[in-house]
């Protein structure tokens, strides 16, 4: 109920208080002046909301440096054959060839109405195809070597979470891709290294966070943009384990095209990726909490 209200309510009308829904009980919580702007309805199963207290953002200097070079464009064709792209990142795995991105970049998401419909292929998500990863892509360069300084990597396999495959569940919008070699017969990890990652995190953490991507809104997505800011947990909303995961104020033009782009710690550990935002709340981006489902998908491509 709280979640539904969250979708249909007008955010400005609740802009002075923080209303925390705990089951059927609503609690009115006074907030600091700084937190007033963050006011919104929070459901009992909405685990973590962040109050971004400071923010920096801008371009990624080129030529990119590590770990920026682990990030790149993931070109693909959607389930209807239309060419599109997302952002993806090489992570450190045994295969030396694994990408993390958003599940919606890999698969359309299923529409099974209930768990009883799982297994019926008619409800399964439809796969995208022709994935091609270009790390450190810089479309402003005049030569192919400049645009793709580490080459391009085609795909071997792609896996998404169970809940995405059957239910287009944006709480589990995480996917992984296995790549092949580039034209120099090198693995992605050899060429650009890889980020770390965090699964099953205790998401009560507060940390300085870095985000990165190829947003379409900036120069047609041909270059990387980054932002960083301190994400301060606003609501101690337990249980904080299996829900949307992370949310924070949208960073400038990091919107369409940044999907799948990494959110990572100062230790270069990715804890989620760009996923979605609400149309009525376009100043906030969400990333899924990487739980056991993401772990299973990673295992398929590690």
């Amino acid at each position: 109920v709280a979640r539904h209200a969250m979708r249909t309510s007008s955010a400005p009308s609740i802009g002075k208080v923080l209303l925390v829904g705990l089951g059927s009980v609503s609690v009115l919580v006074a907030t600091t002046p700084q937190a007033v702007a963050e006011a919104r309805l929070v459901g009992a199963n909405d685990p973590v909301y962040w109050n971004q207290t400071s923010f920096n953002g801008g371009y990624v200097n080129t030529p990119y440096q590590w770990p920026d070079i682990t990030v790149g464009r993931l070109n693909y064709k959607d389930e209807n054959g239309a060419p599109k792209y997302c952002t993806a990142t090489v992570i450190n795995t045994e295969s030396q060839a694994t990408l993390i991105t958003a599940a919606h970049c890999l698969n359309s998401g299923g529409d099974a109405p209930t768990t009883a419909n799982e297994g019926d292929g008619a409800y399964a998500g439809k796969w995208h195809s022709d994935f091609l990863f270009i790390p450190a892509y810089d479309g402003t360069k005049s030569t192919l070597a400049g645009r793709a300084p580490y080459g391009a990597f085609s795909w071997l396999g792609a896996s998404v979470t169970y809940s995405w495959y059957w239910h287009e569940n944006y709480h589990d919008d995480i996917g992984f891709v296995r790549l092949g070699l580039n034209a120099a017969n090198h693995t992605p990890l050899y060429e650009v290294g890889g980020m770390g990652y965090i699964l099953n995190e205790d998401n009560s953490v507060q940390r300085w966070t870095y985000v990165q991507g190829h947003p379409l809104s900036y120069n047609n997505g041909v270059q990387q943009r980054y932002a960083d800011g301190y994400l301060d947990r606003l609501v101690n909303d337990t249980p904080a384990k299996d829900g949307d995961g992370y949310e924070y104020q949208k960073v400038g033009d990091l919107t369409q095209g940044a999907s799948g782009g990494p959110w990572y710690t100062g230790n270069m550990e990715i804890f989620t990726v760009f996923s979605y935002f609400y149309t009525y709340q376009a100043d906030r981006m969400h990333g899924s909490y990487m739980n056991a489902e993401a772990q299973a998908a990673l295992k398929a491509e590690q």
Binding site: P83, T93, T115, N169, G193, K241, S259, F277
Partner: protein, 149 residues
């Protein structure tokens, strides 16, 4: 110091040692848990280009510090990620009910990337890049939510 005092001190010392041993055992059991608990971190470490492959996983059961478990990279892990996931297990993993009710979470949500048809530079790259057969065996081909080329 009387014998009574000595006996009492020995008893207290014994209790302290016993407590320490029990505490140590608990830590040990936590560190070697066969499968990550829901509240444990699992971390893969970043690696710079062309460096020696070193996959490491950290578990943070106690919420402080964390224990790094270095792996040899031979594909055999410590058990943290070594269990094959069955459909039933995956289903159980989502049994929290989050988002499984029709319309509970998706309406009103706008995916952030694939809405735009873009001029994609796919054509400037070779259509069929080489694979890496020596590494292909690491994937779990029977994962039910996987697509392959």
């Amino acid at each position: 110091m009387s014998i009574g005092h000595l006996a009492r001190r020995q008893l207290i010392l014994g209790l302290v040692v016993l407590a320490a041993l029990l505490s140590g055992s608990a830590v040990f059991l936590t560190m070697t848990a066969p499968k990550a608990k829901a509240d444990n971190d699992i971390r893969g470490c970043p690696v710079s280009p062309a460096s020696t492959l070193a996959v490491c996983i950290a578990t943070n059961a106690a919420g402080a510090g964390g224990t790094l478990v270095n792996e040899s990279g031979n594909g055999v892990d410590t058990g943290i990620m070594g269990t094959d996931w069955t459909l039933a297990e995956l289903s159980a993993a989502t049994a929290d009910g989050v988002g499984l009710t029709a319309g509970s979470a998706t309406s009103g949500i706008l995916p952030s990337a694939p809405n735009a048809n873009l001029p994609v530079d796919q054509t400037e790259f070779p259509p069929a890049l080489p694979l890496n057969p020596s590494l292909a065996g690491n994937s779990i081909a029977n994962y039910p939510f996987r697509s392959s080329r």
